[in-house]
Symmetry: C2
Subunit: 541 residues, 2 copies
């Protein structure tokens, strides 16, 4: 068979040849702009030429600091298309982490949205590798900036000597992109995506049994393009000739609802908070969402009640998926099997609330101390994944040793597997409570407590215990109206029907606030530190 490498550039070339009039619909600061794939490919070739003229060479990193829009999409193909590496930078990181990752990746050029300039200007003196800043704006004039040397994206495109075709002299294992993922402690960790990984991942997204991404779709990636390649959608959508709607900066639930109605979106992808916001918006306004054939939800677990609302009230099929920056990211999709479609509504919801079935091309194991767990939907173990679009290291990072062992990615997620092979994530390994040799899911307890009307938020942590090694303690913030009126016992009584007795928290600690990370997740590490002597002290007292 021919030795033809799987390359990212070829994917856009396919759209240009076979779907030249399909559309990129891009919202920027100045409104909605529309491009055909023919125009997008021509602009991307000019951009590839511009990168070369800026001195970017094969294998060098091109950083992006941008929302979801057509110029970011052009960079998605131009950088790998000329042999460079697309480095998408998470704009929500702290200034320290932003400068760390730009330096760690040694970005040679940075492409920056006009409204995000201040975030880069703050760290500009700490970026020795960066030789040029390119500003992405719709305006003719460049904005005032302290960055130097600075170029206009559109001016570069105009002057460019366009690439005649995308590079073919590459190994498919050469890097095409990279993205950093936050760590619990320390600096973010870099994941490098190969051309091969992106192409294989795109196949996996187009399968009838996964997301079935198709030329018939109009796709709305709400998930940021600076986050795990917007789940790979921009690549796969271009390959299949799918219309793409890129929602731009600072969008609101209202704007998303309008885009869905006006652009007749068929498939939209984002994290649960996005869909909670949309649900709220749909309940207030009146929108036609009948074009939607799927809402894809990942990033963290989607609440069952939300899935139910979309499916039953709005008749919008909900596709729960799971992945990580380390997995390119699609790993599992929760879709009913052919013989499950006549189950009752609640049973089907049970299945759809899980993270789902591994997509073709990957392998998994769920491993406890005693070895692989039984597929009974109960036994918990850490999820291990292997496959051609799974990272095998963090880029130049000693922490690789923890996560990548014996050819497997240790996800740090604790899961159960039911007898259909469907996984359900129950906790992070570091948050799991190990009590007397048994495992207790902090997430299950939190969800149960948060269902009580008095509770604003709850975080359950493991606290050292002399006899049982660890025991669960719940940290609870009550809603204002309930403060001082709801007691420990009431909450324990509320949740006790759902759990074995030994699962129930040894104590409930009421707090004014639960400490959080920069991306809004519970900072359990701080809680554990604060309460590390809680159970030994109470025994002594």
């Amino acid at each position: 068979m021919m030795n033809v490498p799987l390359l990212v550039g070829s994917m856009l070339e396919r759209a240009e040849k076979f779907f030249p009039n399909k559309k990129i619909i891009s919202r920027t600061q100045s409104g909605i702009q529309r491009f055909t794939y023919r125009e997008t490919a021509a602009r991307t070739r000019r951009l590839a030429g511009a990168l070369a003229s800026l001195g970017v060479k094969k294998g060098e990193r091109v950083g992006t600091f941008a929302w979801n829009h057509h110029r970011h999409l052009e960079l998605y193909f131009a950088a790998p298309g000329m042999g460079a590496v697309l480095h998408t930078i998470n704009i929500r990181l702290s200034p320290e982490h932003i400068s760390y990752i730009i330096n760690h990746a040694e970005d040679k050029v940075l492409f920056i949205d006009e409204d995000l300039l201040p975030l880069v200007e703050r760290v500009k003196d700490q970026l020795p590798s960066v030789e040029a800043y390119v500003i992405m704006t719709d305006k003719q004039e460049l904005p005032e900036t302290t960055l130097h040397p600075v170029f206009s994206y559109e001016a570069l495109l105009k002057q460019s000597n366009p690439a005649t075709e995308f590079i073919r002299e590459l190994d498919e294992n050469d890097p095409a992109g990279m993205c950093y993922t936050s760590a619990t402690t320390g600096n973010p960790k870099g994941v490098v995506y190969s051309h091969r990984a992106i192409v294989l991942h795109s196949y996996a997204m187009g399968l009838a049994d996964t997301m079935a991404l198709s030329e018939y779709d109009t796709c709305l990636p709400v998930v940021p393009m600076f986050h795990a390649n917007a789940w790979g959608l921009p690549f796969a959508a271009a390959w299949f000739g799918t219309n793409q709607v890129l929602p731009g900066p600072q969008f609101t639930p209202k704007l998303l609802a309008e885009l869905i109605e006006e652009e007749k979106i068929t498939i939209a992808a984002g994290v649960p908070t996005i869909w909670l916001g949309l649900l709220n918006e749909l309940e207030q306004g009146s929108y036609d969402t009948s074009s939607l054939r799927s809402i894809v939800c990942g990033g963290s677990a989607a609440p069952r009640s939300m899935i139910k609302a979309f499916e039953t009230k709005y008749k919008i099929p909900f596709l729960h998926a799971f992945g990580m920056t380390e997995t390119t990211p699609l790993a599992t999709v929760s879709r009913l099997k052919s013989y499950q479609t006549s189950l009752g509504v609640e049973e089907m919801l049970d299945i759809r609330s899980k993270q789902g079935l591994l997509v073709p091309g990957l392998e998994m194991k769920v491993v406890a101390d005693s070895g692989e767990v039984e597929w009974n939907g109960k036994d918990m173990g850490e999820l291990l994944i292997r496959g051609p679009w799974i990272a095998d290291e963090y880029y130049r990072d000693e922490r690789s040793e923890e996560a990548f062992r014996d050819g497997w990615l240790y996800t740090g997620d604790v899961a159960t597997v039911d007898d259909e092979g469907v996984i359900k994530l129950v906790d992070r390994t570091k948050d799991l409570i190990k009590s007397g040799g048994e495992w207790i899911s902090s997430v299950d307890l939190e969800n149960a407590i948060m269902a009580h009307e008095a509770v604003f938020e709850a975080s359950v942590i493991a606290v050292p215990h002399e006899e049982w090694q660890e025991r669960p303690i719940a940290c609870v913030v009550l809603k204002d109206a309930y403060t001082g009126k709801t007691c420990k016992q009431e909450l324990l009584d509320f949740i006790s029907p759902q759990f074995a007795k030994w699962w129930l928290p040894d104590d409930i600690v009421f707090m004014d606030e639960i400490p959080k990370t920069s991306v809004g997740k519970f900072l359990k590490r701080a809680l554990r530190e604060k309460l590390k002597n809680h159970l030994t002290q109470s025994t002594e007292a």
Copy 2:
């Protein structure tokens, strides 16, 4: 990213893990047998162990001489699953060609269906590489045979020390299978399929925009498993957990119609003559074919009238596809684009009658003497294909040089490309008529002539001509009732409205019979030889 090879064995392992109760429904000499994927995987592991015990080593060829049934499917995975190479032998070849390819491939073991034994016995003395014959039968006792040494498939499975898992110590470019394709002259030419090619090809079959093969399907590969891996369906269907119905030996249109109704087939694949037979059967009998979501048709061009009958009369969506033994085989699928679904019925039929759009992962060019042709649906050129599941040579064969040049497969097919990038095959390069620097399609003329009620069959060939280099001559066999009653001019008048004047044949030669190849195709070479002086002689006369 992890260096995980794409391997055929993993595909069956996925079915076993995630779809253990989905079914293989196999028709053999003794009737219908049913196996789950769990059982199939267990039997296949035993078979892999049996191959090892027969002395088969990594890279060695395992020949099969068999219909479509469960044992053949087990061989599809057991041979590559233990590192060997599955060599499927076309049972319809001449004895000379059968012994040639077994020797050329150096098959070490031959697996033979009981009813096909005589075909192998005829050549047994010419097969020095074969060390063992395994007979596939449902009976306890082995049949009488002159082959030696001979084993029973089921007995081997019983005694086997099963492989615990399929081999992983392989390069994905290692050979997994091979198949020989007939040549116009000389011996058949061998194509070797790598693990990588088969896995990538399987992705391409599962895409929503190609065949959308899915776990929701029940698939009936009518195309023989000895012909280009039954178009790759057994591999892809296992990977996706699709039920497979294997129709076994000597099936009839009636049997296919019954299988479709009883097993609720959703997708069936075969050559046009199969579907012509089924159409005839559907018109005579009364069958429920409502489960069918697609008939996939390839191998040769499907007549427009047949497509229309399936689509309009029986409401069975018809998927016209194109591929060759050299392309694993799926290369194009004819499916309407999203913006073509509101066209008129005839316009849609025009599109669906073409060979279709290249599947993601492949590249093509259509090249005439003057370079790449315009995509205008008119200009003709030879179709060239490139991609990771396209052969780059014939196995140990000097004829490779003609077909594989500059990194492209020269298909030998002449095609047009319309402005949507859809190809239509118009002829074989060797059958095309080159008249005064312009090209004339023999196939178009044949189809036009065969539409006349008096014509039983027609073959149009190029005959040397002094002024125009070549001119078309039609060789026509009339139906008995019309013999002597239909004249040359009547046929020419009948077709002339459809063609430019210079396309019309210079002569029509009536014959009793048109010589054919062993697989029933017109033997145009013999006609050309017979008529080579036809135009010069007639001028002289």
